[in-house]
């Protein structure tokens, strides 16, 4: 598949949709079509298209291949690599058709990139990767990571991930992302050099820790609540959908038995033979048609799954807020207590229990020099503490501000994407119904000839 083709393939799909109802969709002008993310949604603000990476560069995950190699513990393993192709946008716009630059990446490298992005931009709802292992599998769908259908869907998902990241107003400017797309060798080292790993570890710990925040931003708490519920409901929907798909598969396949029996039966009949035989063929066709129908529906499931995983990313942003708010509160608390200590030292009035206070009472007050020393130390600590509070306040406020912007962007994107997904679902149902009408009309014609 050539570079342009993967984006083009989607373009024609959009055109088809336009001609279906004869009205223009919210597609934008021709220029914009190259900036469409794989889900067909126009990039958020046309103003930014020059600014985002995707505006300057065409990106595509063109192929997938199996490789064998030695892993970290020197054991032989088989894995899949994906070919990332890039081309400068102006070259394409000019009508030139240069060969794309390309490099191979495996899933774990995508994971590394994403982890880096999460840690580096904790106020961004970072687009999720396609699932690591097949979930919500129904019986005929393979759970095997090496299954070609699974690999293909993953390829699409990885491309979708890259397109989303590269069109994000903030993430698209990241250098590491750029290197990921353009430099095959040594990229991993560069990532590790950023030192994000250390941050990642503490971030992971924080994510799973429980701590009480006194004054979290209500909006973020609501968002967190929303993300939890979204995860729950999306999971339920996906599970129910998988069961329905499984049963529908059964219904269609059972009709294949009609094909076989009619064929055998036609052999013993004179007048009915032809009609039965041809009706049988249509039954076989009917039974076979479900495979394509359900394969297409998997793409719908994938669109829903993306937002199931997005919920996790959204939750992480809210958690980050909780963390920064908590740290701010801790710092403030610490500062207050230090100030109190200073006051006590200065005035000699003990408000709070302290060992020093006790020992002072028991063994007599300390010497003035000692007190001076301690006071001085406390002053230094207080200055540090005030700095810390200032820093934390800024950090917290910045996070809230930036996160809120991105969460709004995310919400709009989600509403648009999922609406499109539902429409796609309806389109698929319509296609399935049309096929059904055709098959059974044909079968009826055959029965009439009996």
């Amino acid at each position: 598949m050539t570079l342009c083709a993967c984006v083009l393939a989607h373009q024609t799909h959009q055109e088809e949709k336009m001609s279906e109802d004869g009205r223009e969709e919210l597609v934008g002008t021709d220029d914009d079509s190259e900036n469409m993310a794989v889900d067909g949604s126009l990039n958020n603000t046309m103003v930014e298209e020059g600014c985002t990476l995707l505006g300057r560069m065409e990106i595509c995950v063109a192929e997938a291949e199996k490789r064998s190699g030695k892993n970290a513990v020197n054991m032989q393993e088989t894995f899949t690599v994906y070919l990332i192709e890039t081309r400068p946008m102006d070259a394409v716009a000019d009508g030139r058709n240069p060969a794309p630059d390309s490099l191979w990446r495996r899933y774990s490298e995508f994971e590394l990139l994403r982890n880096y992005l999460i840690v580096t931009y904790p106020y961004i709802v970072v687009p999720p990767l396609p699932e690591k292992r097949a979930e919500f599998v129904w019986h005929k769908l393979s759970a095997d990571n090496m299954d070609p259908d699974f690999v293909e869907r993953r390829r699409v998902g990885l491309e979708n991930f890259l397109l989303r990241v590269a069109s994000h107003p903030v993430l698209s400017n990241d250098k590491i992302l750029y290197h990921f797309l353009t430099e095959e060798q040594g990229w991993k080292e560069v990532v590790y050099e950023t030192g994000f790993q250390a941050k990642a570890d503490s971030w992971l710990r924080a994510l799973s820790a429980t701590f009480r925040v006194r004054n979290p931003d209500k909006r973020f708490m609501e968002m967190k609540q929303y993300s939890d519920e979204l995860q729950s409901h999306a999971s339920q929907l996906l599970r129910a959908r998988a069961k329905v798909a499984d049963r529908l598969y059964g219904v269609y396949k059972v009709h294949g038995n009609y094909g076989r029996v009619f064929s055998e039966w036609s052999a013993i009949e004179r007048e009915m033979g032809d009609g039965l035989q041809s009706a049988g063929h249509h039954m076989d066709a009917y039974a076979a048609s479900i495979d394509d129908i359900l394969e297409e529906e998997e793409h719908y499931a994938d669109q829903l799954k993306e937002y199931l995983f997005y919920a996790e990313a959204l939750r992480a942003v809210c958690r980050k807020h909780e963390l920064t708010q908590f740290e701010l509160e801790m710092a403030s608390q610490d500062l207050i207590s230090k100030k109190q200590q200073r006051e006590e030292l200065a005035t000699g009035i003990v408000r709070t229990f302290s060992f020093k206070g006790m020992t002072n009472k028991l063994f007599g007050q300390e010497a003035p020099e000692q007190r001076e020393a301690r006071l001085k130390l406390l002053e230094e600590l207080i200055v540090e503490g005030e700095e810390a509070v200032k820093e934390k306040t800024v950090e917290c406020e910045e996070h809230v501000e930036r996160a809120w912007v991105d969460m709004q962007r995310f919400k709009e994107q989600k509403d648009k994407d999922l609406r499109e997904a539902l429409i796609n679902f309806a389109v698929m149902q319509i296609s399935m119904c049309k096929k059904g009408i055709q098959v059974w009309s044909n079968a009826k014609e055959c029965f009439l000839k009996m």
């Binding site: 129910a240 049963r247 149902q429 319509i430």
Partner: protein, 420 residues
């Protein structure tokens, strides 16, 4: 009436022809009603039972002169038992009926009686089967509405099949069944039990001897029958399986639409499309329910009847074989006899005629049955296909309506953006 008695001789296998003035195709020279005169030569008999294709059309088309319905099942409770009574309504222009309308009430046992009388009188005619006594699957209770309705329809079809049959339609027992207010006295009259006993004894005796050679056409018929039985059983099983799978699919669909509604509860803009999708899925569920009903009530019963027909046909073939075996046995005995040959010769000749008549009756009825089978199955399959097309058409409309409702909004958004 003498025609109701079935002595263990050849007249028991003759047709009741007291109404023969209506049967134009049949030779009028037969006068077997009294059971005593000699039968005509076999060749003239042959002509009697050859049923041309034309008759079929005449019978089913414009000249249908008798209309029967079975309806109104009602529960009757006595000290001993509970049973269902069905109303049997007959409208006819036939002259042998005193009135043109009859309303009687019959229970399942009465239908059983009628059928067994017909089988007795015409052992090698193909008589449509009755619905079974019990439902083996245990899915349906004996007096559930579904069971009663299914049975009622089958009984209705049974009587109509009889009325459409060129020979059976004119049977005296059939007439009594349709017209007599009380069936009990007529049931008591028949000595059918004895004759059936005799027949069974002979059948057993003959089966020991075996058949020397079956005419080729009957062998072919037997072969066809085996295969047909096989295939119709398979089609029946497949249909049952389709229904089962559809039911399971429906169950999951019912769980599916609420998940959209639940999610909608979380959302703002997205709530409406989610709820719309939920209602679309719900509507499709309803259509699926109807589709399942149609299969269960239209296709499955017909298939089931033809499974039973398979058994009926096998019994008919067995009886024909027995008649032939009996003749052959007596014939052998005659050959080895030294004295008193004349009397036995008469008997053997009679049996030979009986064989001929039985064969012809079967041959004639065979094509009648095949046409009937073809018509019934064809119409059931067509109806199923039509219902499936209708199902998909309705679901298509549901989803297209959804698309329509969704596509209106982008237009509005576009206008608003231009304005701003």
């Amino acid at each position: 009436m003498s025609e109701h008695t079935v002595p263990a001789d050849l007249s028991g296998h003759m047709l009741d022809l007291d109404e023969d003035e209506d049967l134009e195709v049949f030779s009028k020279s037969t006068s077997l009603a009294d059971g005593s005169s000699m039968p005509n030569s076999p060749s003239s008999m042959v002509n009697q039972y050859r049923l041309e294709e034309d008759d079929e059309e005449q019978q089913n088309g414009n000249t249908k002169d008798i209309f029967i319905t079975v309806d109104n099942p009602e529960s009757h409770v006595t000290a001993i038992e509970t049973f269902i009574m069905y109303r049997v309504l007959t409208k006819t222009t036939r002259s042998e009926f005193d009135s043109c309308e009859y309303e009687v009430h019959r229970r399942y046992q009465d239908f059983l009686w009628l059928r067994s009388k017909l089988e007795e009188n015409y052992p090698t005619l193909i008589i449509h089967p009755l619905p079974e006594k019990f439902v083996m699957k245990g899915m349906v209770e004996r007096f559930s509405n579904d069971f009663i309705e299914t049975r009622r329809k089958a009984l209705h079809r049974f009587l109509n099949k009889i009325s459409e049959h060129p020979i059976l339609s004119y049977n005296q027992h059939f007439k009594v069944f349709l017209t007599a207010q009380e069936l009990a006295p007529h049931r008591k009259q028949s000595a059918g039990f004895l004759s059936r006993m005799g027949e069974t004894v002979r059948a057993v005796a003959n089966s020991v001897r075996g058949l020397s050679s079956r005419p080729e056409e009957f062998t072919l018929m037997q072969e066809y029958l085996e295969n047909f039985s096989n295939k119709i059983c398979s089609v029946n099983k497949v249909t049952q399986r389709v229904i089962k799978e559809q039911r399971e699919y429906l169950d999951e669909l019912k769980q599916y639409s609420p998940t959209y509604v639940q999610w909608a509860g979380l959302e703002g803009e997205l709530a409406e499309p989610l709820k719309d999708v939920a209602s679309c899925v719900e509507r499709c569920s309803k259509e699926t329910e109807e589709q399942i009903q149609h299969l269960s009530q239209v296709l499955l019963p017909i298939l089931h009847e033809y499974v039973l027909c398979g058994e009926t046909l096998k019994a008919v073939m067995r009886r024909r074989d027995n008649i032939q075996a009996e003749f052959e046995a007596k014939n052998e005995t005659l050959a080895s006899k030294k004295a008193d040959k004349e009397a036995m010769q008469v008997e053997v000749d009679g049996l030979a005629d009986r064989v001929e008549m039985a064969n012809n009756a079967l041959k004639g009825d065979w094509s009648h049955w095949q046409n009937s089978m073809r018509t019934d199955l064809k119409s059931a399959f067509i109806s199923t296909a039509e219902k499936n097309v209708e199902y998909y058409e309705k679901c298509l409309a549901v989803w297209e309506l959804f698309l329509l409702s969704q596509r209106v909004e982008p237009r509005k958004e576009l206008d608003e953006e231009d304005v701003s």
